[in-house]
Symmetry: C2
Subunit: 161 residues, 2 copies
DNA sequence: CGCACTACCTTAACATGCTAACTTAGCTAG
DNA sequence: CTAGCTAAGTTAGCATGTTAAGGTAGTGCG
């Protein structure tokens, strides 16, 4: 059953995503990806779109499109960088800040409920997950992501996102 | 902190997927999703598209499109069910069977290498993953049982993450 | 027979990923 | 000053996910 772990992992994440999406969509009319983007902006301060794309683990075009949508919704503000250069500084609007906080709190509650009900040790599972992630980041499966992939850099540990 | 596990899980899975995708794309010119679809067909016997969509965890239209593509590639065979009804029986062609086996073996090797390098206990992690998945599945019906088809409908305070 | 119900599949429109290629702005050097 | 380099953002086209709505085969009842 060697294939089972990767398969289950996949299933687990896909379902978590869908659940998160349904919850946010129902409660706030916001998709999970959009929430995540807002959260990243909030955590990074006044990031460029490139910084957001790296932190989110998506390509720049994806981040570009996403920030455009969020700005259009009035949750995000994108201003040319006063320091010059072809870059934009992203920040949350008042609405955006409120939205992020509400969504974050809601998802956090739901997730902790789930972990508790499953009987899994949060700390233990989180630790192993990070070990796997680090192994993927540092050595990269031969022929894999490796150098080419620019996703989630090896951020030490606290703030991931 | 609390949010970290769900994010890490997300990041881990996303990267595993991308890695698998790159490996398969490079070696066999097949995407990971397509491989997964073939694998499911192989495991289920001669499933209908609906069965595949459920097993894969995607919607029926997705499965429909995917099987169409795979049939077009000559990896999958879709015949009207001789038993009647508006349904199609899916099966792998000789090419499809060979492709699945090669890809499966390759991914398995790579994945085991990764787990070994990470220092994580495969059995332990697999067990916890399964617990979470089960909690997510059962939680879909807190007291209402049934409605099993919908993947985690608007579950009160259980899913997400 | 005819109409409704169920199960399965398909089509249409849209959300989000990705890669490739192009544009824009500031910097550096001849 | 022009030419080239780098960084950041955008556009185009495709892969694959979703929901909504429609089509097709059996089954069952008045």
């Amino acid at each position: 059953m060697p294939q089972d772990l990767s398969f289950d992992l996949h299933a687990l994440t896909a379902r978590l995503d869908r659940s998160a999406d349904r919850i946010l969509q129902a409660e706030y009319g916001l998709s999970y990806r959009r929430f995540l983007t807002l959260l990243i902006v909030s955590r990074l301060g006044a990031p460029t779109q490139r910084a957001v794309s790296e932190e989110l683990g998506v390509s720049e075009p994806s981040a570009s499109r996403m920030t455009g949508v969020l700005a259009g919704m009035g949750l995000l503000d994108a201003q040319p960088d006063p320091a010059g250069g072809n870059r934009r500084r992203l920040s949350l609007t008042a609405d955006g800040r409120q939205m992020v906080e509400q969504c974050r709190a809601l998802l956090e509650r739901r997730f902790h409920d789930l972990v508790k009900r499953s009987g899994v040790s949060y700390a233990d599972y989180a630790h192993n997950t990070r070990l796997l992630l680090d192994a993927l980041n540092t050595s990269a499966v031969p022929g894999v992501a490796a150098a080419t992939t620019t996703t989630l850099r090896d951020v030490p540990s606290t703030d991931r996102a």
